[in-house]
């Protein structure tokens, strides 16, 4: 043991003498672990929230019975089923507004509530009595308490004038949910004697068949391992994970570069240790132990940084998930033990992967070989051919995925193959360019410039690969976001056709508002819509009812349309389908869709396909009058008003005064548009932040590679200095070389990035969200990114160059004195 410790001490002495190399190694590991762990922390937080939601009082984790026609279930049916031996428990669900904000109200019946409902708060003893006995209790998550702007014990007033029972915090609950006794919920939601669904406990014995107790009115919904929310948000989390993974690998490039150089510099030391009697096995073991120890330290620091990154990104992620999918995620980061363990594990695994080639070399190390501090650079040239062959193989895989792949995973696989192939082929392409330069060079210094750049290439290639990947991802994602932004804005202009939008708290007040508006001369038209929800082929689908108005015909954006599409909509036997639903259910123009309605199946012909960005659910648009005929219970609480521009402020003020509406219930078009754009921008804030992080890590990779190479460059530079080239001139030449290869890498990153953007737009977005955007190229943005790459390279090259320019002549002279 003592022997091993001595060897460890000797090996570690290298880091004391080369602190910059140690810093490089640690920075690489910390960056890799931090970005990966940060993203994982966010994903874990979200998944934990989905699990809580799914396990709360009859979420997707619980089996349940629902009405076949999607309508409410009479309470008598619950009693009948209980008597027939079915362990069912009723739930009433609806939405209520408190202070203008909408919450999900769940009414439960605690006596029959099955034990299988997961992490629902237990209601026994005193808790049970407090919950069911008047005035009862409203169970909420701590986050909901904050959203309600109320203290525990308070009884907030809801929009219809009723009051909720006193609030009580239950940490197990998800945000946005209010849980009350079923009787309270039926009263508040005005659903006396009605049940939304029946939760099903574990069936003991043999109850009477469902059909004999309920006829064909109910259907069984099996518990699902993956909830609808999880399915919808999978792509978002996959996106984050892909970014985390990319940053992780870029970080590992730094580690690989640092360990490779350290290994080569320590070769003489390793041979001396072997010559002095350290066995190969012991030496290799100690090398691994040293690496694991460093990875452990870096992993812990990386985890702390990862926590900070996750905490910084979480608000934007929460906003994105709410905006895109309606998912409620707590804004406070809570981390579990396995996150810490996984973070340390990934750091150690990453270090071992990055050091694998060096460790293999150490294992195969011949104690007699002459120490050649730069042999690795020469050896890497031999890898160029095999690396290029590997690149071609990876491109072939990309082609296969493009041709045969038909899933989101295949889309990401294609992206990964494209980027990996491009990274692998980069050194070979650079080598060709530099060789061409060398052939054309005539002046001796120019000849040296090209020849030395070639020699330097192998040392810089990993950092340049990291730069290429980071830039390509930046170009790809920025192009996609910009394309999306433009498309979204023009789509928003078409969709927000009305001048003022009003959302009434309930149907009664909506009727009163409409009546009041109809008497005002400053309102040209009131466009009342309606929304109902159904299930079609197992998919949740929203039915949007639109009034027949010229404004929609003129401005509502349609992607594909049948002849006289809007006219077909009026009688109620035609519908438009949202792009994502048309892809999910493979619905095309002319197809017939059968909608389950309370009065029987409603068949509609598809007359148009429209974009519906940002809506996680599929949507069918029908005429509002037809919707009301088939779904008479549909509330018509939302309306758009056509108002002369100058009269908008006065009308809004009057509406607020007359009906006590707040900012959220009445807004003009500009406000709604601004809010939509704000949500859009926030959705992509995470992407931008991760983009910047990745580019930052690539910049660090370049800096650390240049710094670690700087010392080993002295033997190449000293002879030039000796024959009369000044140090500042040498530094300028070195800077020019770095910028030249960085520029070439950036120029290569542009077509690669555009290819990445195309994959994101044409494959990943379509599979993930169901919409395809037009592909645009933004030359100014590309020029900006090349500029950023050059600035990052300049910043990375500046420090080693300044050191060279200021280097004492004695340092350069040492090259000759030390017989290196």
């Amino acid at each position: 043991m003592r022997r091993a410790l001595w060897i460890l001490a000797v090996l570690s002495s290298h880091w004391r003498r080369h602190p910059m190399q140690l810093a490089t190694l640690l920075i690489g590991l910390i960056s890799a672990t931090a970005l990966w762990s940060g993203v994982q922390a966010i994903n874990q937080q979200a998944r934990h929230a989905y699990d809580r939601a799914a396990a709360t009082f009859g979420g997707a984790r619980t089996a349940m019975l629902v009405a076949t026609d999607g309508a409410a279930i009479p309470q008598e049916l619950f009693v009948k089923l209980r008597r027939a031996g079915w362990p069912v428990s009723p739930v009433v669900e609806g939405r209520v507004q408190v202070n203008g904000r909408s919450f999900r109200l769940l009414g439960i019946e605690p006596v029959t509530l099955p034990a299988e409902v997961g992490n629902a708060p237990s209601l026994s003893g005193r808790d049970f009595r407090a919950f069911v006995a008047p005035p009862g209790e409203t169970l909420v998550a701590r986050e909901t308490l904050a959203d309600l702007e109320a203290a525990e014990g308070a009884s907030p007033e809801i929009s219809n004038g009723a009051r909720l029972p006193p609030l009580r915090v239950r940490p197990q609950l998800v945000p946005d949910v209010l849980v009350v006794d079923i009787g309270v919920a039926q009263r508040i939601l005005n659903k006396p004697g009605q049940v939304s669904r029946l939760l099903l406990g574990k069936i003991k014995g043999k109850p009477a068949p469902l059909a004999s107790a309920a006829g064909d009115r109910l259907q069984l919904v099996e518990p699902s391992a993956e909830t609808e929310l999880e399915r919808l948000t999978d792509s978002f989390h996959l996106n984050l994970t892909a970014f985390g993974l990319l940053s992780f690998f870029v970080g590992l490039f730094i580690v690989n570069s640092a360990i490779g150089l350290a290994f080569e510099q320590r070769l003489p030391m390793l041979r001396t240790l072997r010559a002095c009697g350290a066995s190969a096995r012991l030496l290799n073991t100690v090398l691994v132990v040293e690496l694991v120890a460093l990875a452990l330290v870096a992993g812990l620091v990386g985890l702390v940084c990862g926590y900070v990154i996750a905490a910084a990104l979480l608000p934007d992620v929460v906003a994105s998930l709410r905006g895109l999918y309606g998912a409620e995620i707590p804004g406070q980061l809570t981390l579990r033990g396995e996150w810490w363990l996984a973070g340390v594990g990934i750091s150690i695994a990453g270090a071992l992967i990055a050091a694998a080639s060096s460790l293999v070399k150490a294992i195969r190390l011949s104690v007699l070989a002459t120490a050649q501090p730069h042999a690795w650079q020469q050896a890497q040239h031999r890898w160029l051919k095999s690396q290029s062959a590997a690149a071609l193989a990876v491109f072939a895989v990309a082609l296969l995925l493009l041709h045969y792949g038909n899933s989101l995973i295949a889309g990401f696989g294609l992206l990964a193959a494209l980027m990996l192939g491009a990274a692998l082929i980069l050194p070979a392409l650079l080598e060709i360019v530099l060789r061409l330069g060398q052939r054309r060079a005539r002046a001796p210094l120019a000849l040296w410039f090209w020849a030395d750049s070639r020699q330097q290439l192998s040392g810089l290639s990993l950092a340049l690969m990291a730069l290429l990947l980071a830039l390509a991802v930046n170009v790809g994602v920025s192009t996609m976001v910009e394309s999306f932004s433009r498309t979204f804005l023009s789509w928003l202009n078409g969709r927000l056709a009305a001048d003022v939008y009003v959302s009434a708290p309930d149907n009664a007040r909506a009727i009163a508002i409409r009546s009041w508006l109809s008497e005002r001369s400053d309102v040209d038209a009131v466009l009342s819509g309606g929304r109902a929800e159904v299930q079609i082929e197992g998919q949740p689908v929203e039915l949007l009812g639109l009034p027949d108005h010229a404004l929609y015909r003129e401005r509502w954006p349609l992607l594909e349309t049948a002849p006289r599409a809007w006219t077909q909509l009026v009688p109620g036997n035609a519908a438009f389908v949202s792009e994502q639903l048309s892809r999910r259910l493979d619905i095309r123009i002319g197809d017939v869709v059968e909608i389950p309605a309370p009065g029987g199946t409603w068949s509609v012909d598809i007359a148009g396909i429209y974009a519906d960005y940002g809506n996680p659910k599929g949507q069918l648009t029908v005429n509002v009058a037809a919707l009301m005929r088939h779904f008479p219970q549909t509330p018509q609480t939302r309306m758009g008003l056509i108002v002369p521009h100058a009269k908008i402020p006065a009308l809004i003020a009057a509406l607020r005064r007359q009906f006590a509406l707040d900012d959220r219930s009445v807004a003009d078009q500009a406000t709604v548009k601004a809010e939509s754009i704000r949500i859009f921008n926030r959705t992509f804030a995470v992407t931008s932040a991760l983009n910047a992080f990745t580019l930052g890590v690539a910049g660090i990779a370049l800096l650390t590679s240049l710094l670690t190479l700087a010392n080993s460059r002295l033997p190449q530079l000293a002879p030039l200095w000796a024959i009369g080239i000044t140090r500042p001139r040498l530094a300028a030449i070195e800077l020019t070389k770095t910028l030249a290869v960085a520029l070439f890498t950036a120029l290569l990153a542009l077509p690669l990035g555009l290819l990445v953007a195309w994959c994101l737009i044409a494959i990943v977005n379509v599979k993930a969200f169901g919409w395809r955007l037009p592909f645009h190229v933004f030359p100014l943005q590309l020029a900006e990114l090349v500029g950023v790459a050059l600035i990052a390279s300049l910043a990375a090259a500046l420090l080693p160059m300044l050191r060279l320019a200021r280097m004492r002549p004695a340092e350069l002279a040492k090259v000759f004195a030390n017989e290196r």
Partner: protein, 217 residues
């Protein structure tokens, strides 16, 4: 103490076998100081590497203090170098990241035989007292070689193997370093087998053997 019988070694170069050693016989007694001379490429260093267990022989035997070392495993050969052999190379092979003091002590520490008094004596005899905190790159060639000799002798080896230890030094420094080595070898009572091109230096040792065409003459 060291007995070599019929030792052979062949290398392949450009597909052609090169018979470096063709049946070498050699004995070194305890405390004996032997110079190994020969032309460049005659196999002197190869012979030294085989004795040190840095390379494996193709045939023949090497016996050190009664134990045959030719058939030892890699780990056993490492233990042999660690505990019983001292090696000095022309290129010094000091560890650049360790101070002079740590370089002197580290083989003895790895062997678990660090002797403070002997360490202090070596420091004094080698004249390294004022250089202990320096690093190899801050030393002259002669100073570095003195550290290398000290490191090799710190374990009080049975046999000191030196491969052109003065090859990088000027004549005066070489004489000075070799005189120190001779004194310390005498002090420890170990054997010395030194490869050298210098007949002048070879003459200062007890015996000289010459390697020619792969055999000792």
């Amino acid at each position: 103490m060291l007995s070599i019988r019929n030792l052979s070694k062949t290398y392949a170069s450009a597909g052609e076998p090169i018979h470096v050693l063709r049946g070498v016989d050699l004995d070194v007694e305890a405390g004996e100081r032997v110079a190994l001379t020969g032309e460049s490429g005659s196999g002197k260093s190869t012979l030294l590497h085989l004795i040190a267990g840095l390379d494996a022989a193709d045939g023949g035997t090497i016996t050190l203090e009664g134990s045959e070392i030719t058939g030892l495993s890699d780990s056993a050969r490492a233990a042999l170098r660690r505990d019983r052999l001292g090696l000095v190379f022309q290129q010094y092979n000091l560890i650049p990241s360790l101070s002079v003091e740590d370089n002197l002590a580290f083989q003895a520490r790895i062997a678990g035989r660090h002797d403070t008094a002997w360490h202090a004596e070596l420091v004094e005899r080698l004249g390294l007292g004022s250089l202990l905190k320096r690093y190899p790159e801050q030393l002259s060639g002669g100073q570095q070689q003195r550290v290398a000799i000290g490191r090799a002798l710190a374990i009080k080896p049975s046999l000191l193997l030196a491969d052109e230890p003065t090859g990088n030094l000027d004549e005066a420094t070489a004489d000075d370093v070799l005189a120190l080595a001779r004194d310390l070898v005498a002090r420890t009572g170990c054997g010395l087998l030194m490869v050298t091109h210098s007949l002048h230096l070879a003459a200062t040792l007890d015996r000289r053997v010459t390697l020619h065409a792969g055999v000792v003459t």
